[in-house]
Structures are given as structure tokens and as C-alpha cells.
């Protein structure tokens, strides 16, 4: 299930380029996180929310100073670009471009991806999760290092894609599968940008770290602040294993708890599911979910 060395997989993604000397300032007025003091090669995740505090877009940043690359769910491309092109002040230099297909995002995951990176001359110890490190014309960063596996992320210009992936394969990387990589991220407690999380409140996804209530106003900030201060966070997100693929969307447990499955990815012989559930629900044992196919047992990962 977990590759003994590492597999690589290309994650389909939408890409938007925000460029100009005021790119960071413009983004900072809309994002849920503070990017005002970011610098060249900062790696960051962020949301743009609507006025009700619900997620409109979820993106990964590659900060190239006056050019900021955003990676996001490709179905969110249109709304993200529409959001970013409105409200550009008369005295700021900001341009929004599509980069779909220009750059590829791959995940390198397995028990020992460090060995493959070492073969390329990349010292894993020098990689940081909040920072991109240049390698040839690519960028690499670490997503998660667990006891049993590690996940790294690489951004590659499409023109160099074959050359770089060949290099990785020569050094032992296998060919991975998108669902396995995203499932492994879920097991590590992460939600990939390729998963559609629009319409959800960041707190309900367990992504409080992407909401900075001290940065000042942004769309949805009042709602987030109220939820946070009045203990209004009633839901949480956890990862569960099933023997069958779960339908995405809302369902109910046999105890009548409201549940919502936002991702169900095959991982070996089982399926790894990301579930939004009431905070107070007991996660110690399995949850039985009512489905049209009958009751399905969700087992905590």
C-alpha cells in the first residue's frame, strides 16, 4: 500500500498567476491568512471566503516575489480568477493570468522518498514545509513527514516534466496513483487542494491554521471571529477507512448524526474517506452510516 521507496504522481490542478508589484498586497486583502510579510519562495496555503465565511477557493501559494503562483482545484479556476480581477485599485499594478498546463504539480510519497531525493542531490534535511527550495528549474517542498511515510511536493515547468520525472524514476521512484497519494494525505490529516471544499467553513474542516483573525478584515472575517469567540464551531473533520467507496455528500449515521463525506479515495484494498461530522461524536469506535446500499462501517484510521 505505502510504496517501500516512493511513487510519484501528477495531481491535476488549476494554476493562476498573480503578477505585478502589488500582487501580494492585493491578495492579502482577500485571503484568510496574512501574506503581507511573505517573501521569495514562501510556501503557504490559503482560502478566499464569501461574506458568510464559507470557502470559495482553497489554494497553495508559490511566492516568486512579484509573481505568485496559485495551485487550486481546477473547477475553481473561473471563480478564483473572477474574484481576483475585481476591485483592483487604479494605482496598483496587478495582472491575473491562467497558467493551466504550464506547470505540473507532483507528489512524491512513500516510506523513503528521501533516498530518491538524495539521488538527485537534494538533501531532505534542508527542505522546509513553509518554503520552496529550488532544484534546477523546479521547486520542491516537504508536505508531511510521519513515522511510516513522507510526502514531498514538486512544481515542474511542463517543458521539463519528462526530464525531471525520468530522473526520479531512474533513482527508483515508481509510478503512483492520484487516489493513493490523496488518501495518504488524508491519513496524515491533510486535505489536498484538488479536493473541492467550497461552501464549507474552514473550522469545520479542521483548518483553523488557515484562518488568521489577527490580520485584519477579509471577506468572511466577521463570521469567523464570531464563530471562534462564541464557541460556534460545532463540526470537525476526521479520516475513516471503509471497505467500499463512499458517495460524496451528506448522509446520516445510524445514530442520526449529520455527516458529510468530502473525499473517498482508494488505498490498497480499502477506501480512505474524509468525513465532516459533529464535534461531539465519539470517534473511538466505528461509525455506521446509512446509505442506499445499506449500512456501511466507517473505521477510524
Amino acid at each position: 500500500m505505502i510504496p517501500p521507496l516512493a511513487d510519484i504522481v501528477n495531481i491535476p490542478t488549476g494554476i493562476t498567476l498573480v503578477s505585478g508589484k502589488d500582487a501580494r498586497t492585493h491578495l492579502n486583502r482577500m485571503l484568510t491568512v496574512d501574506v503581507s510579510s511573505d517573501s521569495l519562495l514562501t510556501r503557504k496555503e490559503s482560502f478566499i471566503c464569501d461574506l458568510n465565511g464559507r470557502i470559495t477557493t482553497y489554494q497553495l501559494h508559490v511566492d516568486l516575489d512579484e509573481q505568485i503562483l496559485l495551485f487550486h482545484n481546477d473547477s475553481m479556476s473561473e471563480i478564483l480568477r473572477k474574484t481576483l480581477t475585481r476591485g483592483i485599485p487604479w494605482n496598483e499594478e496587478i495582472e491575473i493570468s491562467s497558467g493551466d498546463g504550464a506547470v505540473q504539480r507532483i507528489l512524491i510519497y512513500g516510506k523513503q522518498p528521501e533516498k530518491i531525493l538524495a539521488g538527485l542531490g537534494i538533501n531532505q534535511a534542508q527542505l522546509q514545509s513553509g518554503h520552496w527550495t529550488e532544484f534546477l528549474d523546479t521547486m520542491i517542498s516537504v508536505i508531511k513527514i510521519e513515522d511510516e511515510f513522507s510526502i514531498y511536493e514538486m512544481i515542474i515547468p511542463s517543458r521539463d516534466y519528462s526530464e525531471i520525472t525520468d530522473l526520479l524514476h531512474v533513482n527508483g521512484a515508481g509510478i503512483g496513483e492520484v487516489h493513493s497519494a490523496i488518501a495518504l494525505l488524508s491519513i496524515a490529516g491533510m486535505i489536498d487542494y484538488s479536493i473541492d471544499v467550497s461552501g464549507h467553513i474552514p473550522f469545520n474542516l479542521g483548518l483553523q491554521r488557515l484562518v488568521d483573525l489577527k490580520k485584519g478584515c477579509y471577506p468572511g472575517q466577521e463570521i469567523h471571529a464570531r464563530m471562534e469567540s462564541r464557541d460556534g464551531i460545532k463540526k470537525s473533520t476526521s479520516t475513516f477507512k471503509t471497505n467500499v467507496q463512499m458517495r460524496l455528500g451528506k448522509s446520516k449515521s445510524t445514530n442520526n448524526d449529520q455527516l458529510e463525506i468530502i473525499s473517498s479515495q482508494r488505498f490498497g484494498d480499502s477506501w480512505i474517506n474524509v468525513l465532516i461530522h459533529p464535534k461531539e461524536i465519539s470517534l473511538s469506535s466505528e461509525i455506521l452510516v446509512n446509505t442506499p446500499e445499506g449500512e456501511i462501517a466507517l473505521k477510524s484510521v
Binding site: R29, P89, I96
Partner: protein
């Protein structure tokens, strides 16, 4: 940065905004405050009122006194010797705006009453 050099990126996405002829109302208190802010530079400087993305409600008001900009695309409103500029891109958002000024220690300063706003944030700086 070589990561994004070369082909593959689109040309900048065009921003299409609605242009309307702007009318705004400036209360006597606001006129006085704007005149005071501009001071002796009233012949060369203008007040620009604009709206930019952000804030709790989607857009933020911005007001700056600057030397008359060379950029095109502004609509000019002359009120009592004061020149106010509003960019065409902001015209639909700011048309009908009423600019007031409250002289108080708490909550004082310029206030906007915008008929285009469906909602405004508590601090009054953001609308949507």
C-alpha cells in the same frame, strides 16, 4: 524565475467593469474636512475616492489626497472648489455615494453612505 519563464501562461485576463456617470453628494461637513485636508494645495491636488477588493464585506473604500494623476479614466466632480476624482472602474460601485464627516473623538471621520451596498461592515470601511 525560470519556473514560469517561457510559454504556457495566458495573457493577463481582462477586467471588464461597468462604467456609469458618477454623481456623489458631499455634505457641508465633509466639504469642509476635505478642504482642510487638502489645505493650500487645492489648485494642484485632488481627492480620489476608490473601492478596492477586500474587507469584511468584499470591497474597501479608499480616499487619498494626491497631486492630480496623469492616468486617464477618471471622472471629475467639482464641489465648492475641491476636485474629486472617481475612476471609471469604480463608478458603478460608488455612484450615488453620500460622503459625510463626523467630528467626534469616537467614531469620527469620514462616513460613506452607499446606495449600491447591500451590506457594510461595522467599522464602515467595507461594503459589498
Amino acid at each position: 524565475m525560470s519556473l514560469i519563464e517561457g510559454t504556457g501562461f495566458s495573457l493577463p485576463i481582462a477586467t471588464i467593469t461597468e462604467r456609469v456617470d458618477v454623481n456623489i453628494e458631499v455634505t457641508p461637513a465633509a466639504r469642509s474636512a476635505v478642504k482642510s485636508a487638502i489645505g493650500e494645495q487645492i489648485e494642484t491636488h485632488v481627492l480620489i475616492i476608490s473601492a478596492k477588493a477586500g474587507g469584511c464585506s468584499g470591497y474597501l473604500y479608499d480616499m487619498v489626497v494626491v497631486e492630480r494623476p496623469e492616468e486617464e479614466g477618471f471622472q471629475t466632480i467639482n464641489i465648492d472648489g475641491v476636485t474629486i476624482l472617481i475612476h471609471d472602474n469604480d463608478s458603478a460601485l460608488l455612484n450615488g455615494l453620500k460622503l459625510d464627516f463626523k467630528d467626534s473623538l469616537m467614531g469620527g471621520g469620514f462616513h460613506m453612505d452607499n446606495p449600491n451596498a447591500d451590506r457594510a461592515c461595522g467599522c464602515g470601511q467595507s461594503f459589498g
